[in-house]
């Protein structure tokens, strides 16, 4: 794990941007949801959304490592990313029960989101581990 929290956050933002573009690519290929905005605009929006997701997930990963909730960075990152996505998804389900017209659930999109959450964990974990290995003295 990077010793410097700030550097870990920067890694999280980078991983999030990469993940946002992976999500855009996967979504475009799967055809589960057709983009309504232009592809150029989506590149920026997905990078921003991914960076936000990545930074928040990194905050929890660093906290988990500090509290020794897990030892392996990649495995911990996958668990944290999935849990963060799940919490948001459960919140979305709660909103859906209150206002089904505005927040309606699409099962295929949920399945895609689940897979993408695991992807974020892998990307984040690999990037954080790479940082850790580079920071360690030879």
């Amino acid at each position: 794990m990077p010793n410097n929290f700030g550097k870990a956050i920067a890694s999280g933002a980078l991983a999030g941007v990469l993940w946002g573009w992976v999500a855009l690519l996967v979504g475009s290929l799967s055809g589960i949801f057709m983009l309504e905005a232009s592809f150029a605009q989506s590149i920026a929006v997905f990078a921003m959304g991914g960076a936000i997701f990545g930074v928040v997930a990194t905050g929890f990963i660093v906290a988990g490592l500090q509290l020794r909730l897990f030892k392996r960075v990649v495995a911990g990152s996958i668990v944290v990313s999935f849990c963060l996505w799940l919490v948001l998804r459960v919140g979305g389900a709660a909103l859906s029960t209150m206002d089904a017209d505005r927040y309606h659930v699409v099962t295929y999109e949920t399945a895609q989101g689940f897979v993408l959450a695991l992807c974020l964990g892998v990307i984040l974990g690999l990037l954080l581990r790479h940082r850790e290995n580079n920071a360690a003295p030879a």
């Binding site: 929290f5 700030g6 946002g20 959304g49 997701f53 998804r89 919140g91 979305g92 389900a93 505005r102």
Partner: protein, 50 residues
């Protein structure tokens, strides 16, 4: 020396923690669209949306 240490702690721990805290709120806003900008992103990551 002590001031330098404080500044180091500020930039390496406190500021990143505040960034994470602020972005956690931003994530909720993005995930649920609490007012168009993130409409496609929300659909792609499986969040309920119309």
């Amino acid at each position: 020396m002590e001031k330098a240490l404080d500044r180091d702690v500020l930039w390496s721990m406190v500021v990143p923690a505040l960034v994470v805290f602020a972005l956690a709120f931003a994530l909720v806003v993005v995930a649920y669209g609490f007012d168009d900008a993130f409409h496609d992103f929300r659909h792609m990551i499986g969040m309920p949306c119309h």
